[in-house]
């Protein structure tokens, strides 16, 4: 182990702000990117499923025999 104390480690020889500023932003972005991708994918899947369901129920309605309510539309 290179460091004598946690304080030493955090200070980074008076370059703490620069070193930890780099670490923080890199970590933040590399965590955020996959999280945003997951969320985007979930949203997309939900949207596509909704569309698919809507299409299917439309197709079903079209193939069903005419009911009285539908006939009343003229």
């Amino acid at each position: 182990m290179h460091w004598n104390s946690l304080g030493d480690f955090l200070a980074m020889g008076n370059h703490g702000l620069y070193v930890w500023g780099s670490v923080a932003v890199m970590a933040l972005l590399m965590v955020a990117e996959p999280m945003l991708l997951r969320r985007g994918r979930k949203k997309l899947v939900a949207r596509l499923k909704r569309q698919l369901r809507a299409e299917r129920s439309e197709a079903r309605a079209a193939s069903e025999p005419l009911t009285t309510t539908r006939r009343s539309h003229g």
Binding site: H2, F9, V23, V25, M26, L37, R41, V45
Partner: protein, 249 residues
């Protein structure tokens, strides 16, 4: 022998690539975590102090991998873009689009960590020298590629336009790489190159290489995640996507 040959072209169709990518993603995440923990432990806990730069040099373990990835991802992106342009394969354009945001992320991180390294060492966040300027151009190329594709509604046409931009921009990569040799610059020369022994302690070198490997694995995992989303979106009217969505209800 011949019946053992895998038909690699099979994986060039989105339908077969989609589940394969899904299976591979967790493995690349696991490798990214292992390499990342190992590289950062060596770099931040074990590696010795640099004789000239003190402890501030430790930014190297983030800066160099990010910069390498930003350049390498661009080459891979341009390769896929070119393949799509030449052979008109569906998957190629999707791969190129999936790589661009991650490449932009690493180009940004390269500039960010570079600025935080430059300030204590050179006394400036930014200088308009060849290395820094060409890396900034790389970031703009990525952003330009993404914006151009987003501006065109038809995905196949967006792929073609993006591909031309990506291929023209390739000229920037050797400029970044050799800029420290070709011009007098504030940026230090390469610590690791293909032609000579690395000019750094073994511990520092290992830390850096492991961090770079972690970034590789991260990039592959994220690109596969994104390409899967792009596939679903673009192929939403095909039977295989409908079957997939139907199954999950």
């Amino acid at each position: 022998m011949s019946n053992r040959v895998i038909n690699w072209f099979r994986y060039a169709s989105p339908q077969t690539f989609y589940p394969l990518a899904g299976k591979l993603i967790p493995w690349f995440w696991a490798l990214a975590a292992i390499f990342g923990v190992a590289g950062l432990s060596i770099g931040f806990l074990l590696a010795p102090t640099d004789a000239q730069q003190g402890e501030g040099y430790r930014i190297i373990f983030l800066h160099v991998p990010a910069s390498w990835m930003s350049m390498f991802i661009y080459l891979v992106m341009a390769f896929w873009a070119g393949t799509g342009l030449a052979f008109n394969t569906r998957l190629s354009g999707m791969m190129a689009s999936a790589l661009a945001p991650t490449g932009a992320l690493f180009a940004f991180l390269s500039l960010w960590t570079g600025a935080l390294w430059g300030k204590p060492m050179w006394g400036a966040w930014w200088v308009w020298d060849a290395r820094l300027t060409s890396e900034l151009i790389l970031l703009f190329l990525y952003i330009g590629f993404i914006a151009l594709q987003a501006a065109i509604d038809d995905p196949r046409r967006a792929d073609k336009a993006g591909a031309i931009l990506a291929l023209v921009g390739v000229v920037n990569i050797p400029i970044i790489y050799f800029s420290v040799k070709w011009w007098n610059t504030l940026h230090q020369g390469a610590s690791v190159s293909l032609t000579k022994a690395p000019s750094m302690a073994a511990m520092m070198l290992w830390g850096m290489l492991l961090c770079a490997l972690a970034c590789w694995m991260y990039s592959i995992a994220v690109a596969l995640m994104r390409v899967r989303t792009i596939m679903l979106e673009r192929e939403r009217h095909t039977d295989w996507v409908r079957a997939l969505l139907g199954e999950r209800e």
